[in-house]
Symmetry: C2
Subunit: 307 residues, 2 copies
């Protein structure tokens, strides 16, 4: 099934305790596309870049089944640039630079050939832009997944609340869940947030895994314990790409299948952090993914009949 993915395509500069890179391709849309393209196609990308965005990167995405007719290329302007530095725990980071560049005038347009897509991944963007994409779709997708961040909670809460009422699943991290709900307990946070619209809430906890809430149900997916987390940038987006990629591939949005999708998302995130940028997501094969999924089974599998 087709997945429309709306998100940034950008350059990042990243500093971690283990290394530093001055300029590497990044952006939430880029990570989502690379991760999801391992599982399903087409990925129908909506984004905006300057004329500095590498043509080889576009070619690489196309070769993986990512449609780019929704990616606007603005001449004589620069792509969005983000620079950040990670703390030793790799779960927290400081943003050093945010140069919006082309993103300042982003007005996402859904190309005619994207109409009819069954899945929609709304990457972290200004909520009014996320809303505009939903409104442009003549047929409502089977599943709409939304990512957002604390910045929009502080500056555009009214619009965020509007878009929350129109989505099926919300994907945020633990501190964002606490901020959105005003509750410290994630269980209490989830109860409040599920009243804002989404039927499913996924709370990402970085190296501590992710929780899926739906009605009275809760499911927990661990992060894979890794020897080295090299660069966490994009891990949440790779998670989102794996999640919606699996749901689209199986065309099954049941709660049971969402659990599996979260494990697939966790697997894609575990690859993502192994190298700088989206590099590792480009290298991995179907076999690598299958082996990693088996590691997740081993990681949490226990026999309660022994009690």
């Amino acid at each position: 099934m087709a997945v429309i993915s709306v998100g940034t395509m950008a350059f990042d500069a990243i500093e971690t305790p283990f290394g530093k890179i001055d300029k590497i391709v990044g952006g939430s849309g880029t990570y989502v596309a690379y991760a999801a393209s391992h599982l399903t196609n087409p990925i129908q990308q909506i984004s905006i870049v300057g004329d500095d965005f590498p043509g080889e990167e576009m070619d690489e995405l196309k070769a993986r089944g990512v449609a780019l007719s929704g990616v606007e290329i603005v001449p004589d302007q620069k792509s969005f640039f983000w620079s950040g530095k990670y703390h030793l725990d790799m779960n927290t980071r400081d943003t050093l630079i945010t140069d919006l560049n082309v993103l300042a005038n982003f007005n996402p347009k859904v190309p005619e050939e994207y109409q009819g897509a069954e899945f929609l991944m709304l990457g972290n963007l200004m909520p009014s832009l996320q809303l505009s994409v939903i409104e442009q779709l003549r047929k409502r997708p089977k599943l709409i997944v939304l990512d957002t961040m604390n910045f929009w909670m502080e500056t555009a809460m009214d619009d965020l609340k509007k878009v929350l009422q129109k989505v099926d699943a919300l994907l945020i991290n633990d501190s964002e869940a606490r901020q959105l709900s005003g509750e410290f307990s994630l269980v209490k946070s989830a109860k409040k947030i599920l009243q804002l619209g989404p039927k499913y809430l996924i709370i990402k906890k970085g190296e501590h895994g992710a929780l899926l809430f739906h009605q009275e149900h809760v499911f927990f997916a661990p992060a894979l314990p890794l020897e080295d987390v090299f660069d966490p940038t994009g891990a949440g987006d790779a998670f989102a790409g794996g999640f919606i990629g699996h749901l689209s591939h199986t065309n099954d949005t049941s709660f049971e299948n969402m659990k599996t999708a979260i494990i697939v998302g966790s697997a894609m995130a575990s690859f993502c952090v192994e190298k700088f940028g989206p590099q590792r997501l480009k290298e991995i094969s179907k076999k690598d993914i299958d082996l990693r999924l088996e590691q997740f089974v081993q990681l949490v599998n226990f026999d309660i009949a022994l009690v």
Copy 2:
């Protein structure tokens, strides 16, 4: 199978963001005994108290199959007292007061009738005392589990290393694992620590669950997401009690059964935090425990065949 449990029996004063209590029965040995007694018997307690320790608490423990002939009661002295205050995240706390009292002269003696026990739980104590208990046992237990803390790593590392060479399983939290190994990555920590003697390493991460390492294997048990964590005091000890209690009950120390034991430990910890002190561990029934274990199954169960 009999479990010898060596640990403190004490009074605590606890302050959490949700309440405050000036004096309540606590101590690692108390929590281990209450948790383990739901699963197996006898629990053969080794500890020391002053004459202020409540007779009703002793009676309650006895009624649950906890042998107390190894608990020394020192006349005219006070029991160990600990006071602490939890931060909002409940994963970190400040110790406000530590009055050793009787603990200053603790010299654990294994009663003759405890000889032959198959399981030994060495609660967090001065490593030389832990070593002395092992040396007093004429038959080596089938499984020796050790708890320790950063204080002993800083003040008694040589003794700690000696006792590590004599135990099967080490139970510590994430910051202690990092301190003991000098590695930030828990996977790297585990590799180093498993070279110090223990064949099994359990790293407790509080609300983020627990990891079991053995050779090249790793297993992850989540903590149950709770609406309210009322008081985390003793959760790690309840975990230990559930863990060794299950292993003793089943008399099976295989890696597979240790996974289940860690889930049982997590279940006991999840009860422990619901009320101040060991109160909740006294209230729960076999049925409560079975229901909670089923919640853990639901929490992590997924169908990878769907991929």
